[in-house]
């Protein structure tokens, strides 16, 4: 299972730029990113190529960050995957696309979802 970074940011010009700058300075690549906003703040959710380095960099920058387990599947499996999850009563909380024709999915029960998908022969990353 993959760890996603969920970062609390104020919804103001320049904040996102600061964050991406921080990644650049620490040679951390963003593999996938989605933003959810509500009023004056938002959450940046992203998959990063160097999670340990990223945790350290974000902590040093006093960022409010949470690590969340997510599933990554190939886009071509999307139809089957959501069907399997639905049948097993697993809810998809949110999802966003990623490079390489993949999609990041956050569900309410990660291990159950992973098992269900693997039983159905769907590859997860």
């Amino acid at each position: 299972m993959v760890k996603q970074f969920s970062i609390f940011l104020e919804n103001k010009p320049g904040r996102l730029s600061n964050l991406i700058d921080l990644f650049e300075r620490n040679q951390i690549r963003v593999l996938a990113m989605g933003i959810a906003e509500a009023g004056n703040y938002g959450i940046v959710r992203c998959i990063l190529d160097a999670p340990e380095k990223a945790v350290e960099a974000l902590r040093n920058a006093n960022t409010a960050v949470n690590l969340v387990e997510v599933l990554i599947i190939d886009m071509e499996d999307l139809h089957n995957a959501v069907k399997v999850l639905g049948e097993k009563g697993i809810n998809v909380d949110y999802a966003y696309t990623m490079d390489l024709g993949r999609i990041v999915i956050k569900v309410d029960d990660e291990s159950k979802a992973k098992n269900a998908l693997s039983e159905a022969g769907i590859k997860t990353y």
Binding site: E10, A38, Y41, I43, N62, V65
Partner: protein, 430 residues
């Protein structure tokens, strides 16, 4: 001397107060033209003065001190004055307070008592990180700690890295500073790679000069100092050392052999009963250089006259709930920053740092409360954050009786201060 002060019973305290009240009224009548005029105008009979007559004496206010700038309220010959402190005069003249040799001595004794009540002994290393200079915090605690025989580090404010280095290298066990600076030191320690619980030996925090809440105590005691005590004072009443929290931390004991306390309704001036919330009014019983009769402190609190579980009979005031000057009038309703602080403290993932912005939208006042999230803030589910914000707004409305908008800010974005925290921005043009 001090053993006697701790063991005084209620009856003894009342007797001492009655005697000293009569003495101080007679003394200012004799020596201060200002008070002689005031007392005459109020028709006070000095020779047959009874303790209950105190209620007939008009209040002394900060405006009286300013109007009689600089030394119009002293009650001794100027030659007997050995020290003068002054408060920051943000508007108009500063307030000057004057001490005789005897006053300095009594003030040191009161601060020694306060430190002892917190469990400080001559073996302790006391770092005084209040400002030294015109502000009374630094010198007040300094003299008290020195009188107790502790090892004093007169660090004063600022230079946070050096403060931490001194704590570590000199083995500081007692820290005296403002609560907001203690929070800042605690945060900075972690940034410097210092684990306060392992690398420092801070046993006691003597924290005052601004109101602070139980939530701040919780954070400080969990992360920084074993036992955090609130100390109360103001330069007009010598400085720090007027009241102190004992180990029970259920209110601050006022040294009643030096200060006579009344709680009044700030609007009508009527004296309230113990248990009722109002403005604290203090008559100094021992001050020689500049005694004050019924001085309006502008601090809002509640008096508790029961004997404390710690055994001391000196009456207690509750942690200061706010100041009549900090009191914001928003849409005609009185709001104290401390009320907001208490609400914030009930929520997980928020820091004790906040800022109030009052603005005006047409004829209507708007209150915006900026609340800083901590690094442990749950930041994945937007619905949870929206929900938290909504609950904060609802609770603020319940507590304040007016609506306030909450804005969540990122960690370490609201201003920190090394002295008193600046938490209110009033943008209303009135």
């Amino acid at each position: 001397m001090s053993i006697q002060a701790y063991s005084m019973g209620k009856k003894e305290i009342k007797e001492v107060q009655s005697r000293k009240l009569k003495e101080v009224v007679a003394r200012v009548y004799e020596n201060s033209p200002f008070y002689r005029r005031r007392l005459k105008e109020a028709g006070i009979d000095i020779t047959n003065f009874r303790p209950e007559d105190i209620r007939k004496i008009p209040f002394t206010t900060k405006t009286d001190l300013r109007d009689n700038y600089p030394l119009g309220l002293i009650s001794v010959d100027k030659s007997k004055i050995v020290r003068m402190h002054a408060s920051s005069g943000t508007t108009g003249n500063p307030t000057v307070v004057a001490y005789t040799k005897r006053d300095i001595d009594a003030w040191a004794e009161l601060n020694k008592r306060c430190l002892e009540v917190c469990g400080v002994t001559s073996d302790d290393v006391v770092q005084v990180a209040y400002g030294y200079g015109l502000f009374t915090g630094g010198l007040g605690l300094h003299y008290g700690a020195e009188r107790l025989g502790s090892k004093v580090i007169p660090a004063s404010t600022g230079n946070t890295k050096r403060q931490l280095k001194l704590m570590k290298d000199l083995g500081t066990t007692v820290l005296a500073c403002t609560p907001s600076y203690a929070l800042f030191l605690s945060e900075s320690a972690k940034e410097e790679g210092i684990d306060p619980k392992k690398d420092l030996k801070l046993r006691v925090g003597v924290l005052g000069a601004e109101p602070w809440s139980e939530s701040t105590r919780k954070v400080l005691e969990e992360e920084f100092v074993q036992s955090a005590h609130d100390i109360y004072g103001m330069s007009e009443l010598n400085g720090p050392g007027v009241a102190i929290e004992c180990r029970k931390k259920n209110g601050l004991h006022v040294w009643e052999d030096h200060y006579f306390v009344e709680i009044i309704d700030p609007n009508t001036g009527e004296v309230l009963e113990p248990g009722e919330k109002g403005e604290m009014v203090v008559t100094t019983l021992e001050k020689e250089g500049m005694p004050l009769l019924r001085y309006r402190t502008r601090d809002i609190t509640i008096l508790d006259d029961e004997v404390c579980e710690c055994g001391m009979a000196h009456a207690r005031i509750k942690k200061i709930l706010g100041r009549t000057d900090d009191m914001l009038k928003i849409r005609g309703i009185c709001v104290f920053p401390s009320q907001i602080e208490e609400v914030i403290s009930g929520f997980e993932g928020l820091t004790p740092f906040y800022q109030l912005v009052v603005d005006r939208d047409g004829p209507l006042d708007r209150l915006l409360v900026k609340v800083e999230v901590s690094e442990n803030f749950k930041s994945d589910r937007l619905t949870e954050i929206v929900d938290l914000q909504k609950r904060l707004e609802e609770e603020l409305r319940d507590v304040l009786s007016i609506s306030a908008a909450v804005e969540l800010t990122e960690p370490r974005t609201l201003p920190r201060s090394e002295g008193k925290a600046q938490r209110i921005i009033d943008l209303r043009k009135i």
